[in-house]
């Protein structure tokens, strides 16, 4: 058990270093970019008040957001606030807190991507395994290969635009954008749930179709290489039924790399399918990142990226912890031997 705790300690140390480095980079890079995050605030005020904004007001705003201090001082105070759990205020949509923005966006992204990732992984893996196992004997199954290739090589945003054009614009079966009808009551009701599902259908479909192609092709080639394994040959020589050889020998072993792939893609869920969310104006984290970068909204960029890094790291840690369950050859703490 000692080895396990040592391993966990190591991992947590690596985790802390990762977060530190990433947060530092994310803090610095937007500040090196040309442009002024307060620009949007000025133009808003100019629009309301008519005419130029006074120098005193600008100085006051810069002071409020700490932008008058040196980058180093800002960096220190950023960490001080972060350790207190304070991500600060959004500049572009002041006085909304960054944490509020994140809290509103996270459920949409996680809901959309957890579902699509799981569905495409399951479906792609099963179909790919079946096609790989039948190996050209079934014409119908084989027809799936070129389809999967086309799906896999299609950029998902192209597919998304195509879907919007056909199913939302031309035939108007699904809503064009958003995650729910504006003005609808956000409550736990049947009609609101249906509304949300209708809005999620197209973004979900575009993500599922494209990643399905990848999972399909990957599982197919894994199964084909499994068929050449000695243990498959010997299973057949023992007279095991085909079904048993497929599930417990070929599929079971091909599942190992495929599961690694799934776990890695779970790490990216929080990042969202950025462009998909932008195309569908889906209010998830991808959309938030896109907007905040456009507006140079430093605190929001920092907050979302921090969340991303933490979740990718946690996902990786979980994979490492869970992997020994599916592969008995891996034992935590054995690394040194």
């Amino acid at each position: 058990m000692g080895a396990f705790w040592k391993y966990l300690g190591n991992r947590i140390l690596i985790f802390i270093i990762t977060v530190f480095l990433a947060v530092t980079v994310v803090f610095l890079v937007p500040r090196w970019l040309p442009g002024d995050p307060l620009q949007s605030v000025y133009s808003k005020m100019a629009g309301v008040g008519g005419g130029a904004v006074s120098d005193e007001l600008i100085a006051e705003y810069r002071r409020r957001f700490g932008l008058d201090k040196s980058t180093f001082d800002q960096y220190i105070s950023f960490w001080r606030e972060l350790l207190r759990g304070n991500l600060g205020y959004s500049i572009a949509s002041f006085p909304t807190r960054v944490s509020t923005i994140l809290r509103q966006a996270v459920p949409w992204t996680i809901g959309l991507l957890t579902f699509t990732t799981l569905v495409s992984w399951l479906l792609g893996s099963l179909l790919g395994a079946m096609v790989g196992w039948s190996d050209g004997k079934s014409k119908k199954l084989n027809a799936l290969v070129p389809i999967a290739l086309v799906l896999y090589t299609t950029p998902y945003y192209i597919l998304a635009i195509l879907l919007v054009f056909l199913l939302a614009y031309r035939w108007a079966i699904f809503p064009l954008s958003g995650a729910y009808t504006l003005g609808a009551d956000k409550e736990w009701s049947w009609s609101f749930a249906m509304d949300v599902l209708e809005h999620a259908a197209l973004p979900a479909l575009s993500i599922i179709l494209v990643s399905l192609g990848w999972w399909f092709l990957s599982m197919r080639s894994l199964i084909i290489s499994e068929k050449g394994q000695d243990y498959i040959l010997w299973a057949e020589a023992r007279g095991l039924p085909k079904r048993r050889i497929f599930w417990s020998y070929a599929f079971r072993n091909a599942l190992l790399p495929q599961t690694t792939g799934l776990a890695l893609s779970f790490g990216h869920i929080v990042g969202g399918a950025l462009i998909t969310e932008v195309i569908f104006a889906y209010p998830g984290l991808g959309y938030v990142i896109y907007n905040s970068i456009q507006q140079l909204d430093f605190p929001v960029i920092q907050g979302t990226v921090l969340l991303l890094i933490v979740s990718v790291s946690v996902a990786n840690l979980l994979i490492d912890m869970l992997y020994p369950i599916i592969d008995p050859r891996i034992r935590i703490g054995d690394g040194g031997n």
Partner: protein, 284 residues
């Protein structure tokens, strides 16, 4: 002695663009009950293909295009796929090459051995299986506790013993051992061969041992068939083969063995082989 396995005029072809490659070309071979037959030959001579043909496990595009394989008078080539599946392990068991990788890496030994029993309708209680597996493992010199291990926790010799234990679990009439010791060091090789010999005696199965290790053959086989390019060149008693080989190729094979009391002709064999390769390359 009555024959248990009779291979008559077997033809196994692999189609290529320049016509079929005759991996096994008109081979006839008889195996008597309880007999130990050695099948030797260089790589690509067709010996493993014969083994796979008897199991009816030739992979496409390879195909059995002619001949008969009679097991106790029944032609295996006429059986339905399902009947053939039932024949494997129960009647003809195989111990494969590549001892290191024959076991499924993610499943415990217990369930891999039980898989074979269940596939042939042996349904036992939990303790019944445990007892049966214990007996089988003890017979090959392993602890019954091995059932709780994963393949990577066993040595190469132990893995091959597990394979042998599984192969004898339904008391087959014929065991085909295709280079069962190829990946093992000489000490373990000897132990595995002794184990195979002992269990073969116990269940009275006939064994076809495939390989190219003359030393192992001399110790194990009663009769040896020599193969080259899909043909059987010579099929004689083991003493005959070693003392007085009839076929010129067999004679060369024997002379290539290192010996204390005569010079080897082994360089000459290699040179001839090189010339053959060059001839094939030139023909293309």
């Amino acid at each position: 002695m009555n024959s248990v396995l009779e291979i008559i005029d077997l033809e196994v072809h692999f189609p290529t663009r320049r016509g079929p490659v005759r991996a096994v070309d008109g081979v006839s071979l008889t195996l008597h009950a309880g007999e130990r037959l050695g099948l030797i030959g260089e790589s690509g001579s067709g010996k493993s293909t014969i083994a796979l043909a008897v199991m009816r496990m030739i992979k496409p595009p390879g195909k059995i295009v002619g001949g008969q394989i009679l097991l106790d008078g029944v032609d295996l080539l006429t059986l339905s796929d399902e009947a053939m599946r039932r024949t494997r392990l129960a009647e003809v068991a195989m111990v494969t090459q590549g001892a290191m990788n024959s076991l499924n890496p993610v499943i415990k030994i217990r369930s891999q051995m039980i898989d074979g029993l269940k596939a042939h309708g042996v349904e036992l209680s939990k303790s019944g299986y445990e007892e049966k597996l214990g007996e089988l493992l003890t017979a090959v010199g392993l602890e019954p506790g091995v059932v709780d291990l994963y393949p990577h926790e066993l040595s190469g010799g132990m893995k091959q013993r597990v394979c042998i234990a599984t192969a004898i679990s339904l008391k087959p009439k014929v065991i085909i051992a295709d280079e069962p010791t190829s990946a093992l060091d000489v000490v373990v090789q000897r132990q595995v061969m002794q184990t195979l010999r002992r269990v073969q005696d116990e269940i009275g199965a006939a064994v076809i041992l495939i390989g190219h290790d003359m030393g192992l053959m001399a110790q194990f086989a009663q009769r040896v068939a020599v193969m080259r390019r899909g043909h059987i060149l010579e099929d004689s008693e083991v003493h005959q083969i070693f003392a007085n080989p009839k076929d010129p190729y067999t004679r060369e094979l024997m002379e290539s063995l290192p010996s204390f009391d005569r010079d080897t002709r082994f360089m000459q064999v290699i040179e001839e082989a090189a010339e053959e390769v060059a001839a094939v390359a030139a023909a293309q």
